[in-house]
């Protein structure tokens, strides 16, 4: 392999380079900061994210750009996903600050690990080579394992971290195994080269390729949390400190979606007949399991975990349509989902305070009396997750259903809407608790002003984009037209 290196490559990689440098810088600075200046770490981390975001915008590609000997790709979809990831991590840090502070885990490590995880995600988004995908994935995953374990006095968190690590490592192993088979058959690590190689492969190779594909899909399903590879999600979501759960449930999903797109669409699109069937199965199982088991939960973090699983099922509906509009629908779905998840966990953080975790469903009782405004924001979030118009979550479901129907899978659309109705029940239960039940807790809601404002904006954006979804839909479709 000829490792050609050109100075323009640096420009393409500039956001990642900046993020890496700043993460190392913060790591060093944090060691020497006195406790009362600790907030500087927070500000530096946020500044880094903003800086990286601006860099991504400044090199926003007008066409597909490859760098580092085709290992790294900068395309419109990647840039959009990076912007979303960076914005989400920014909000995650903002929501988490006071929660972590009162629990004494607001340490430099949190931000440094968070930034490294973000770097991993950006690399995953831009990877154009099997090894780079794996590299990004592991950088992200290892940082996340450590973050879950950060609350070291909590047995629950340690257990969650252990589970997350073992199952995550297993998933990475699966993915790696699939990749190695792919390499064995095609003799290439580069996604574009693999794609060309497969499209004119003879039928003898096909069996081996599908064998490899199975492991790749399993690995991706693990990372996304699709049934039957979802077991880690409820335990990790529940066990991890809520602020970390917020992190795990939002941006990494987008990165996982990105490698799904890179592997299945960029690399293996000519095997779509094979992965389509696998995704249909994963999708139905996820929608069914997620929505049905969520009903039985009393812990809201666990409930959100199952709700995530069902959303992953819906997300796959778009991808399995196997055309541009379908991918755009899934992209729209994942962005919508991360906005909703952000708000949902944000609300739990808002209600938590010193020595009190708002973890149980009953903690939402009578919220309308304690604070009509935040009850309203939660109402928007829950209805949006349930897919009730005119909220953004409805349009997300609508987009993927539309594509599934256009692709001719009407039976699948009927199944999906039936599961959506089952799912509506547990979201309605939260609304019922907030609006129809009497509150046992009269403590006023205290939070930093920045958190209050951001959370309100978070909710209102879901309402506003629900009324005017055209911008985001058109954007998602446009970035995918550049692709392929």
């Amino acid at each position: 392999m000829n490792l050609g290196f050109e100075s323009t490559d640096i420009i393409t990689l500039l956001p990642e380079i900046f993020l890496l440098t700043m993460a190392c810088f913060i790591l060093v600075v944090d060691v020497y900061l006195p406790e009362k200046l600790r907030h500087l770490t927070y500000q530096l981390a946020q500044g880094t994210l903003v800086g990286t975001l601006l860099l991504v915008i400044s090199i926003y590609p007008s066409s597909l750009t490859l760098a580092m000997d085709n290992m790294f790709i900068n395309d419109a979809m990647g840039a959009l996903l990076k912007l979303v990831i960076l914005a989400i991590v920014f909000v995650v840090f903002l929501y988490s600050r006071s929660y972590l502070q009162v629990r004494n885990i607001l340490k430099g490590e949190y931000f440094v690990l968070g930034l490294f995880a973000t770097l991993g995600m950006l690399i995953m988004v831009s990877a154009h080579n099997l090894l780079i995908i794996y590299l990004g994935l592991e950088l992200m995953s290892l940082s996340l394992y450590a973050m879950v374990a950060m609350h070291r006095d909590s047995a629950q968190a340690a257990e969650a971290a252990m589970k997350y690590f073992i199952l995550g490592a297993l998933a990475s192993g699966m993915l790696l195994y699939g990749m190695s088979i792919l390499y064995g058959v095609t003799g290439n690590l580069d996604l574009a080269a693999i794609a060309t190689n497969i499209s004119d492969a003879d039928s003898n190779k096909h069996t081996a390729l599908v064998f490899g594909l199975v492991f790749i899909v399993i690995g991706l399903a693990f990372k996304l949390g699709a049934v039957p590879f979802h077991m880690w999600i409820p335990d990790v979501y529940q066990g991890a400190p809520t602020a970390i759960t917020l992190f795990i449930s939002s941006a990494p999903k987008i990165a996982a979606f990105a490698i799904l797109m890179r592997l299945l669409v960029d690399g293996l699109s000519s095997l779509y007949v094979d992965w389509q069937g696998m995704l249909i199965l994963l999708s139905i199982l996820s929608m069914a399991t997620g929505n049905i088991i969520a009903i039985a939960q009393t812990n809201i973090k666990r409930m959100f975990a199952y709700s995530t699983i069902s959303h992953v099922g819906f997300l796959m509906l778009g991808v399995l349509s196997a055309n541009q509009a379908g991918y755009a629908a899934s992209l729209f779905y994942i962005i919508t989902y991360s906005l909703m998840g952000l708000g949902g966990f944000g609300m739990i953080l808002l209600l938590s305070r010193v020595g009190f975790e708002a973890e149980n469903l009953d903690d939402f009782k009578g919220l309308n009396e304690r604070s009509p405004w935040y009850a309203f924001i939660m109402l928007i979030l829950m209805l949006s997750m349930a897919g009730v118009p005119p909220l953004l979550g409805f349009w997300a479901k609508w987009s993927v259903l539309n594509q599934v129907i256009q692709a001719g899978f009407i039976w699948l659309a009927v199944l999906a809407v039936l599961f959506a109705v089952i799912g509506a029940f547990y979201y309605l239960r939260i609304i019922k608790l907030m609006y129809f039940d009497k509150s046992e807790d009269r403590t006023p809601i205290e939070a930093n002003m920045d958190m209050k404002i951001t959370l309100s904006i978070n909710g209102l954006i879901i309402l506003f984009l629900g009324l005017m979804p055209d911008m985001l839909m058109a954007k998602c479709l446009k970035v995918l037209q550049v692709l392929i």
Binding site: V388, W398, L401, I405, L418, F425, L428, Y435, D470
Partner: protein, 515 residues
């Protein structure tokens, strides 16, 4: 000329949709301070909206079946979804019924609702805007969005201000209607994949094979039958009605049920006429079960609200019967083409008149029960007796509305039932016979309730302490009484408005959509 009014050039339908919604937000913002502010604001907005909706009637051209007061703006251009509004002779009267009922509902909750007043009023204003939007929407996705969004305020209204089993009732209501609607969504998306447009009028022109028409018909049926509600998917209605506050019951009975029937006219009949013809026996059968069986069920009720709820289901059976009897009439070989058309028009018009009339009458009956409930906090028939002795003015109204509910001539209840029964005779004697049973059953359950509650000796000490209706209550009951009597004696204004549209609809559904 009235039709030259400059006001008619306003985007009237948009105003009717958005004014209540913006008003609702305004009312919400006054929450917490003084409830005395919220009530007049809400009343002012609802009255204003009512007068604006009358402009629709004034400016309406009865000679054309085309959509009027059209507005079309780009909304989601990526998928050809438009903000597209317009009314015809079927939707226009229903919009006026909506604005009219909302005014009454806001008056009805004036002194009764004391907790979270602003939220209560805002919920009704939101609903008003959304319901008007559903009637006026000409884009399938706009229709669907408003149709579903409407569930949310109703869910909250029943859940917060309802009776003892309100939570069970409201979740049942939501999930039942949600289940029906999502299947309709799949059908709409399929139609989009065929028509490459979401305009309902484009859907009307589609050529669809019969097998697929049947599936689409059933998907629409799932959405609309639940809303109407038709037997056997009616079970959410008694629960929702009984537990809802009076205002919620009125809106449910007067408007929400009509949305289902409206859906049949706007979607099922014109988009899938062949499937409707093939499956007319199915709908007619369910309608007759509703009329007869549910009539008997109503007879046995101990709870006044439940009785009226079952009576609503029974009366809505007439509406669906009127719509689908048209297919039987058109298929009747004994009739000349022209006679069949005239009779079928009569059936459908009868159904629509019944929708409007039932809106007035059931609304009025729920308000009457509300008047009693506010005083004694009981809906049981057995807790009353001899109310006429202490509340003579109230008794007058209750008896009038009871008579109207049993279909007494000279009340609006008579017109619709009579037209439907008359046209049914042209289709099949036994269908007409069973439908006519309602004249006996309706009278039996309504008048028996009236007898037990209103007449006789004073039932107990509590009844003796009742005070007669005050000026506010007299006002809204009088307005409804005038409406019931006016359309009973002179239904022509209503029939004129819808005549051209219904004839056009019939021409449309008489043609086959199969290649």
């Amino acid at each position: 000329m009235l039709t030259d009014l400059p006001l008619l050039n306003l985007p009237l339908l948009s105003l009717l949709v958005w004014l209540p919604i913006l008003g609702g937000i305004w009312v919400l913002m006054t929450a917490g301070k003084d409830d005395a502010v919220a009530r007049p604001i809400a009343l002012l907005i609802s009255v204003l909206v009512f007068f604006l909706s009358l402009l629709l009637y004034i400016g309406f051209d009865t000679q054309t079946a085309d959509m009027q007061f059209m507005e079309k703006h780009a909304w989601i251009t990526t998928f050809q979804i438009y903000y597209h509004l317009g009314v015809d002779g079927i939707s226009m009267p229903l919009i006026i019924l909506t604005t009219f009922s909302t005014v009454l509902v806001i008056l009805a909750g004036w002194e009764v609702i004391q907790s979270k007043v602003a939220q209560y009023l805002a919920a009704f204003l939101f609903m008003e805007g959304l319901m008007i939007g559903v009637f006026a929407a000409l884009d399938a996705m706009l229709f669907y969005v408003l149709w579903e969004a409407m569930l949310v305020p109703m869910f909250v209204i029943i859940g917060i201000w309802g009776g003892a089993r309100r939570i069970y009732a409201t979740i049942k209501f939501f999930l039942y209607t949600f289940l029906g609607s999502v299947l309709m969504l799949v059908a709409l998306l399929y139609l989009y994949s065929q028509a490459d447009s979401f305009a309902i009028l484009d859907f009307h022109k589609l050529i669809i094979p019969l097998d697929i028409q049947k599936f689409i018909f059933l998907a629409f049926f799932a959405a609309f039958a639940v809303k109407v509600p038709m037997w056997p998917v009616h079970t959410w209605l008694p629960d929702a009605h009984v537990e809802a506050p009076t205002g919620g019951s009125v809106i449910l009975a007067a408007i929400m049920l009509k949305l289902g029937a409206y859906g049949f006219l706007r979607f099922s009949l014109p988009i899938t006429p062949d499937a409707s013809r093939e499956l007319d026996w199915f709908i007619i059968g369910l309608s007759l079960i509703a009329v007869v069986y549910i009539g008997f069920v109503a007879l046995m009720q101990q709870d006044m609200k439940k009785l009226i709820a079952y009576s609503s289901i029974s009366h809505m059976g007439f509406v669906t019967l009127g719509f689908f009897i048209a297919f039987k009439i058109l298929a009747n070989p004994d009739l000349t083409n022209e006679a069949a058309m005239t009779t079928a028009t009569m059936g459908i018009e009868g159904g629509i008149v019944q929708m409007i009339s039932h809106g007035f009458i059931s609304g009025a009956l729920f308000l009457c029960v509300g008047v009693l409930y506010d005083r004694l906090h009981s809906r049981q028939i057995a807790d009353y007796g001899g109310v006429a002795n202490v509340m003579p003015r109230f008794a007058l109204f209750a008896v009038l509305f009871g008579m109207a509910n049993s279909g007494l001539p000279a009340t609006s209840g008579f017109v619709g039932e009579f037209l439907v029964i008359l046209s049914s005779f042209q289709a099949n004697f036994w269908i007409a016979f069973l439908a006519a049973m309602t004249l006996i059953l309706g009278a039996a359950y309504t008048l028996w309730m009236i007898k037990r509650v209103i007449f006789g000796k004073i039932g107990n000490d509590k009844v003796a302490t009742l005070t007669d209706i005050n000026a506010r209550e007299t006002f809204f009951l009088t307005v409804l009484a005038i409406a019931v009597l006016f359309f009973g004696l002179y239904p022509a204004p209503l029939l004129d408005v819808m005549h051209t549209t219904v004839q056009n609809l019939l021409v449309h559904i008489a043609q086959s959509k199969v290649i």
